[in-house]
């Protein structure tokens, strides 16, 4: 299968993921395979968490660590997610709010085989979270800089990848300029993926499902109006005639509706396809009954699928009343919430996905029904757990503009809502989210009671 074509060059000879296919291909022992997180028609979403090389501190620039020729054989081998600040030694002279731990820059490198057959496809490196001020190179080419330690980002590597050969990803992180006043850690602490896409594909964060229950505020549940917006991206050189097929799948796995609509997307452009349907007797999402639907999106060209994605969503009605409080599906519900940061004992900010459901379950057991993601966009695995286990969420942005250090470019005003937009576009399909927070109070200090603040 195609997913076996991407091989990691490992320095520690980890054989546990070697397949017979790889050995038959004539590749020597010492290579490992990335874990396929999703294997669907036309799209590969390949987990690159395994076998990174790490160096704490900066590196002498005689042979830059961003380049392929740099010798990294003496670096530490590890798997992501990773928080290296946690490995430091406590020093009472250091910053109290960040746990009295030393914070310094660090480097990561990863060797990756990309097959010749990927040439002509769209290759993108996806980082879900790097703390912080990261720079990323592939084969010595600077892909970009991402200041925020709390939002994800993606780089197109199609034009700089070595097809049929070894590639080197290099990442420098610098967490010395804090974004908050709590333990923030440092490193590549969320997942990294390689996305291999057809030239015509669903854009990043490109599915948006809106459900509306007529008279849901009064407790009605007869039917739900579903609107699906799909953003199609065309990286090809010619206009793309495509058909968007959207399947709505019930919580028990039954396909309830299949929608077909065609559109032409200009080369190098994006286009939205909007589809509507009505679902009778929807199963509403609530903390006591967290019902989840699926949207399966397929892009077809000439009748053949070229890309498929899956989006989980829920159907519920929320309403706030200035005197009576919060209502979910027409019923008053007292929000019993906690404000919880993303870090956790022993693992710091590198919280494994498997720990997130446990955290949600413990809070539910204590009587909580809501989680404020203090004070930044969380790991998406937490939101998945909240959806599945019935925990409401206040999803919080970190800052506006450059109110944290080293936002790019410096001087970015408060009115720059790019981080807020990134959070909402990533998270808007989670039914557990009942509220968006623009930021915690320190991000708007001095603006709360000002015309400038109101103008945002």
């Amino acid at each position: 299968m195609k997913m076996f074509c991407h091989l990691n060059f490992s320095r520690r000879g980890n054989l546990r993921r070697l397949s017979g296919w790889a050995l038959l291909a004539g590749l020597s022992a010492g290579l490992t395979l990335p874990s396929p997180a999703q294997d669907v028609s036309g799209r590969q979403h390949l987990l690159l968490d395994a076998d990174w090389l790490f160096h704490r501190g900066d590196v002498p620039i005689l042979v830059p660590a961003s380049t392929e020729k740099f010798v990294d054989t003496h670096w530490q081998t590890l798997d992501l997610p990773h928080d290296y600040v946690l490995d430091g030694h406590f020093d009472s002279a250091l910053d109290r709010s960040h746990g009295y731990l030393p914070v310094e820059a660090a480097w990561y490198r990863k060797h990756l085989f990309i097959p010749q057959t990927d040439q002509g496809k769209v290759l993108r490196l996806q980082f879900d979270g790097v703390f912080r001020d990261s720079q990323v190179w592939l084969n010595g080419h600077l892909l970009g800089n991402h200041a925020s330690g709390y939002t994800g980002f993606e780089y197109d590597i199609s034009s700089v990848a070595h097809y049929g050969g070894e590639n080197v990803i290099a990442v420098r992180v610098d967490p010395r300029h804090f974004e908050g006043w709590w333990y923030e850690g440092g490193g590549i602490y969320r997942h990294v993926y390689l996305n291999v896409l057809s030239p015509v594909h669903v854009a990043r964060h490109g599915t948006y499902v809106v459900s509306e229950v007529p008279h849901g505020n009064e407790g009605a549940d007869d039917e739900a109006d579903i609107t699906v917006q799909t953003t199609v991206e065309n990286n090809g050189a010619t206009p793309a005639n495509n058909t968007v097929v959207s399947e709505i799948v019930s919580p028990d796995g039954t396909v309830l509706a299949t929608l077909h609509d065609s559109a032409v997307v200009a080369p190098g452009g994006q286009g939205d396809v909007v589809q509507k349907t009505v679902l009778p007797q929807p199963r509403l999402w609530s903390p006591d009954s967290p019902q989840l639907y699926e949207l399966r999106t397929t892009i077809q060209q000439d009748g053949q699928p070229v890309d498929t994605t899956t989006t989980t969503f829920g159907i519920r009605t929320i309403h706030y009343d200035a005197d009576k409080g919060f209502f979910l599906n027409g019923k008053h519900l007292e929000i019993r919430g906690v404000a919880s940061h993303q870090d956790f004992p022993v693992v710091g900010i590198a919280v494994p996905d498997s720990l997130q459901p446990w955290r949600v379950e413990q809070l539910k057991r204590s009587g909580a029904n809501a989680w404020r993601t203090a004070h930044n966009p969380p790991n998406e695995a937490l939101l998945d757990a909240c959806d599945r286990l019935g925990m409401m969420v206040m999803d919080e942005n970190r800052h506006l503009g450059d109110s944290y250090s080293h936002h790019s470019p410096p001087g970015t005003p408060y009115s720059d809502l790019s981080d807020l937009a990134e959070m909402i576009q990533r998270d808007r399909h989670h039914p557990g989210i009942i509220m968006w927070s623009m930021c915690n109070e320190e991000g708007i200090k001095g603006m709360e009671g000002s015309p400038e603040g109101a103008s945002l």
Partner: protein
Amino acid sequence: MDSGWLKPGFADVEDIIGVNYSYGSYDTIHAAHPHTPMFGS
């Protein structure tokens, strides 16, 4: 927000007014914005 609710600004345009801390000010803030829900955290 942890201040500024009683001046022209964010509190006039938010769908829900965030009130961090300031438990003793809930009634005053609500009186200033009687039609806007508040959220305490």
